[in-house]
Symmetry: C2
Subunit: 374 residues, 2 copies
């Protein structure tokens, strides 16, 4: 069931009902602007990843700052963006299943839609769906540039698949999907540079082999918030697919910069506001936000502005806080901001964003594609 | 946004769109019946926990087999059950916040609602909300019987709180909430017996001290799927609050019985059906179900009926499978059943239950209180 909004514009942050997904609008807008400023001199484009935010509102704010389109992982996400008016959407993922492909092709009448493949069978399936819909679909080849998840090997296998796409009546070869997911959270710059260096080499080699076969790559897409500053100056990638930069999270904040300090490229903009619902004795307080409100798959959330309080464990609806003896115990009913360990799955547990500026609620935006996993 | 149902009654399981939350209806009904049969000779009542299923449909099936009511953790869950016709609902948790308490008290016109407290301030807050609503609310005292989460210490502190409730004009003292959450997943019977033995002692001592003050405990509630066979014969607990027994999960399946074998009291009834969306090389297959479709906080999901395939890692929308060399590689497009590591948060990520029997879809039930965390 869609939940009702936890706030009304104009109310103070302390009045927001909890648990609530709160955006610090100043930090969020800083992130949007800063990404645009960082990419401008490189000439590469931003195709921001909507898997993070699941919101046509946020997609439009990204596009107003120059993003050329959006990435999604799922057809249901593509639908929500297309219905919300986003004109250019890449499903940066394989889509398997006739009904999903029919839905994706149907979107082509209202948006420019593209999809990835990593198997000849998928090419046949997309071709059939495109033919049935009477439209031509743009298809990219996903290559495995080191993450060992989806993707054909770089080089000849990718060329074969691209040729098959180009030879399919209702398909257009759109380029390469070359995302190195496992590099995003490597802590040191040198680790990230090594892994992305390999990805760049693999992508370059494949682009050259495609060119030898007369196949151009309009898109070479990849990169995430952890590594885009490497791919963006590679001379081979054309589109950056960063998602988390709009919000950041506790896990990305553990990445280190060249000086070995936590990265500070972007600001924390996403919080789960929670209430102290029990404070049974000194040192222990319990929040009303557990697994169902905040993701713990990349570590526990941290307390914003309260370094002496640790979120030590989550149960389904509770979060236990360990309160240092030097710190004032949070009071029963007090509201605290959590920095989620991992932003994407945290967002997906909520129906509403509550935008806050200067301590007041300014906006309510639906997490419009929440639960969209088909 | 509420997602559309992933299936239509009558279709074959292989036709269900994925990822989908699937109930094996035979196993599920076995679990409902078996719990009723296990508790019948003990004389204790079942107040099943709706935090697991979030569904008035399932609540009614439990009550048709003798459950006296339902537990919930959140007011939003209580609302969905009350609106769905459930006549007796205990919020087995503290509720902090005036608007939440007003909503809870408002439900008293259509259901019998009760709530827990572990602080004198909460008693004042519930009293004020009850007075404002013009109704009397039943309030239980939560005691900490060993889980070190919410709850006042057993004994005098609990008695003081109960006296304050009984002395409040619009409140009725309803008894004790005495749930030992940290015992539920202790692997051996002896560990669970030790912890629940302590909980029973603490509850008994508190009940006796209350009686000396003239305060009866109509409800002494607690227990979960891992331990109810201990509390139910304690002579002190009156209501069992088991939730997970309806579905089970991979984590509960790691609990051991007296013979040191995995417990077999209940059957696995809940699955996430997922599709092989990529199979880039021998030994590796990728499912379309990651963190957003299946909880990993209590370990990775397991593959139903496929012991030689391991779900080795989840990303947001992908699950990587390691396929043993002795096993036939799953085909692209093949659908596989995952046993979630943890049932409650997995359920909360989906909008629909797809009930399956004999390979066919028989029912579609909404996860009506999905996302209800306020």
């Amino acid at each position: 069931m869609l939940q009702s909004p936890p706030a009304v514009p104009g109310m103070r942050e302390e009045e927001i009902d909890t648990p609530a997904l709160v955006i610090d609008l100043d930090a969020f807008e800083y992130n949007l602007d800063h990404m645009a400023a960082l990419l401008a001199p490189t000439g590469v484009k931003l195709r921001a990843h909507a898997k993070t935010h699941k919101s046509p509102v946020i997609a439009k704010l990204q596009m107003a700052r120059g993003a050329v389109g959006q990435c999604v992982q799922k057809v249901s996400e593509a639908e929500v963006l297309a219905w919300g008016g986003i004109p250019d959407i890449l499903v940066s993922n394989q889509i398997v299943g006739a009904s999903k492909l029919a839905r994706l092709c149907a979107l082509s009448s209202i948006t420019k839609a593209a999809v990835c493949v990593d198997d000849a069978l998928q090419v046949d399936w997309v071709e059939r769906a495109a033919a049935d819909s009477g439209r031509r679909m743009t298809v990219l080849v996903e290559i495995d540039v080191g993450a060992a998840r989806c993707g054909v090997p770089p080089g000849p296998a990718a060329v074969d698949l691209a040729k098959k796409i180009a030879a399919s009546k209702h398909l257009i070869f759109g380029g390469l999907q070359a995302y190195q997911g496992s590099a995003q959270h490597k802590r040191t710059v040198s680790e990230r540079q090594t892994l992305i260096g390999n990805a760049v080499d693999a992508a370059r080699r494949t682009v050259e082999q495609l060119r030898q076969q007369g196949l151009d790559c309009p898109i070479v897409g990849g990169a995430g918030t952890g590594t885009f500053q490497i791919e963006s100056v590679s001379g081979i990638y054309t589109e950056m697919q960063c998602g988390s930069y709009v919000f950041m999270d506790a896990d990305y904040a553990r990445n280190l910069d060249e000086a070995g300090k936590p990265i500070s490229t972007f600001r924390h903009a996403l919080f789960v506001l929670a209430t102290v619902m029990s404070a049974p004795h000194a040192g222990l307080a319990v929040l009303d936000a557990g697994h169902k409100a905040v993701s713990t798959d990349s570590g526990m959330p941290t307390l914003w502005g309260k370094p002496d309080i640790r979120y030590v464990s989550a149960s389904d609806e509770h979060g236990k806080l360990d309160v240092g003896s030097e710190t004032t115990m949070p009071k029963l009913g007090e509201k605290l901001r959590l920095v989620p360990g991992h932003c994407d799955p945290t967002v997906d547990r909520h129906d509403w964003y509550v935008g806050v500026r200067g301590g007041r609620v300014e906006s309510l935006w639906p997490v419009a594609a929440r639960g969209g996993m088909a």
